[in-house]
């Protein structure tokens, strides 16, 4: 089975993606991760204004069968949370790189993005 791995963003080994936008860094989980989890039924996300540290857990995602922590790809303040996921967590399954995004971070140190996996490196990991 092949998975989408867009090359406009970076990835973590724990399957989160990070995309630079005009406002900050948008975060979600990969197509591979949503497929592994199965039907997503619940997400627990931080509040706007919360401070996150790279590689530490910022929330939880639950499918019918499993519970997983979500990890921050970069440090910084949360500037937006995708509240649509509270009522429609299945957006993570339907559109993991688009409508299923989770939060946006105002990065404290943009060089942290460079330390993440490229799409090619991540593809090697999930192959």
């Amino acid at each position: 089975m092949s998975f989408d791995i867009p090359d406009d963003r970076r990835y973590m080994e724990s399957h989160e993606w990070a995309l630079e936008t005009d406002d900050g860094v948008r975060v979600g989980i990969s197509d591979f991760a949503q497929d592994e989890l199965g039907d997503v039924v619940f997400v627990e996300l931080p509040d706007e204004g919360d401070e996150l540290e790279a590689e530490t857990a910022f929330g939880v995602i639950e499918s019918i069968k499993a519970v997983s922590d979500l990890y921050a790809p970069v440090s910084g303040d949360v500037i937006a949370v995708n509240e649509a996921l509270f009522d429609a967590p299945e957006l993570v399954n339907d559109d993991p790189f688009g409508e299923g995004w989770m939060l946006e971070i105002d990065p404290a140190d943009e060089s942290e993005l460079e330390e993440l996996l490229t799409a090619a490196e991540y593809e090697e990991q999930v192959a």
């Binding site: 199965g38 039907d39 619940f42 639950e62 499918s63 019918i64 069968k65 399954n93």
Partner: protein
């Protein structure tokens, strides 16, 4: 120890199934998505490979006496083609396993039965039957046939039509909990109108080598153990090793809500202990509950009273695909067991409001 594999492991893999270890077996957990499979069974039909379940035959002049002494229900009530749900208890009345017992057509030596212990329990149950047979000097042949038979379940409102099309002779008269031999695409199967989803349906015990022929005779959604779990929680059915466990969660049938399987007018291992439990009443009971706050209850989470005192734990929990609500099962003191009672479930350190519900959570057949 390598995992045992069902006969259609390769076929399921080609179909794109994901697998999980369950009871020492490598079993398909999901073919498409749990929600898709679950909904198919509630609205149309699905087929499950449950070849990890054990099959033990008991036959001979004292077969009935042996089963009567080792299971809680009244085996003597079974005519040929009847089936019965029962508990297997130890001397303290604690559930070791739960099982379905089928009375097969008599053989030359007398009555013959087949019982279906849970995955991974077949060897222990086989030994238990043999040792008690020898101890009581009964004449019965006990044969562990788990490696000889695959088992499939076709479940859902359309199951009856699917089965009518697949079998080579009419079995439309087969009632709930009735069973008989029927041929599916030329393969003789022990066919029972039983199941574990809350829906109408059939279970087929199939010669191992003919598994693919029978599996392929049913054109419906293949389902894995993931959907089997969400379906059975909605139906309020117990999962061995989770809702009861001899070591980690020892429970009597009365606590577990299957007191209806206990026939105290028969003699069986655990009978006297269970008579005492029935007279004295239980201190704790298995209840169903629905989470009112957001979150998903999971096995092992604490259950507290509204004041925060821990009074039990979640034994099974899920987000119900049918109800679109978080539901679970767990043992609580009887004073908290009435439907409508407010409880709390601790989800990752946060206390979430829950309400005791009547089980099954859904309408069942």
């Amino acid at each position: 120890m390598p995992l045992q594999t069902p006969p259609l492991r390769g076929l399921h893999d080609e179909r794109g199934a994901k697998f999980t270890e369950f009871g020492g077996w490598d079993m398909p957990v999901e073919f498409d998505s749990i929600r898709t499979e679950h909904t198919a069974v509630r609205e149309e039909a699905g087929i499950f490979d449950v070849s990890h379940m054990g099959e033990i035959s008991v036959s001979g002049p004292d077969a009935e006496a042996l089963l009567q002494r080792l299971t809680s229900n009244d085996v003597s009530a079974l005519d040929v083609g009847d089936s019965q749900y029962a508990a297997i208890t130890d001397a303290d009345g604690v559930i070791i396993d739960d099982t379905m017992i089928y009375r097969l057509p008599d053989d030359n030596d007398g009555p013959a039965y087949l019982f279906v212990p849970n995955a991974g329990n077949d060897e222990a149950m086989h030994e238990r039957w043999i040792s008690h047979r020898n101890e009581w000097d009964l004449e019965a042949t006990v044969d562990n046939q788990t490696d000889e038979y695959a088992m499939f379940a076709v479940q859902g409102p359309n199951a009856r039509d699917l089965v009518a099309d697949a079998v080579d002779e009419p079995i439309g008269d087969l009632g709930r909990f009735e069973a008989r031999y029927a041929t599916v695409d030329g393969v003789e199967c022990w066919t029972a109108r039983t199941g574990y989803t809350g829906e109408d349906g059939y279970e087929f015990i199939v010669p191992w080598g003919d598994a693919e022929t029978v599996w392929s005779a049913f054109d419906c959604q293949p389902c894995g153990l993931g959907a089997r779990d969400t379906l059975r929680i909605e139906a309020g059915y117990l999962l061995a090793g989770q809702d009861f466990d001899l070591e980690s969660n020892p429970r009597t049938p009365y606590e577990a809500g299957i007191g209806f399987t206990v026939k105290l007018d028969t003699e069986f291992v655990g009978r006297d202990a269970l008579e005492a439990v029935k007279e004295e009443g239980v201190e704790e009971k298995l209840v169903g509950f629905k989470l009112i706050d957001r979150g998903v209850p999971r096995h092992g989470y604490d259950v507290t009273n509204p004041d925060g005192r821990v009074i039990g734990e979640v034994t099974s929990g899920t987000m119900s695909p049918t109800l679109e609500a978080p539901i679970g099962l767990g043992y609580v003191p009887v004073e908290y067991a009435d439907p409508g009672t407010t409880l709390r479930v601790v989800v990752r350190g946060q206390s979430k409001k829950a309400r005791v519900e009547t089980t099954p959570f859904i309408d069942t057949v």
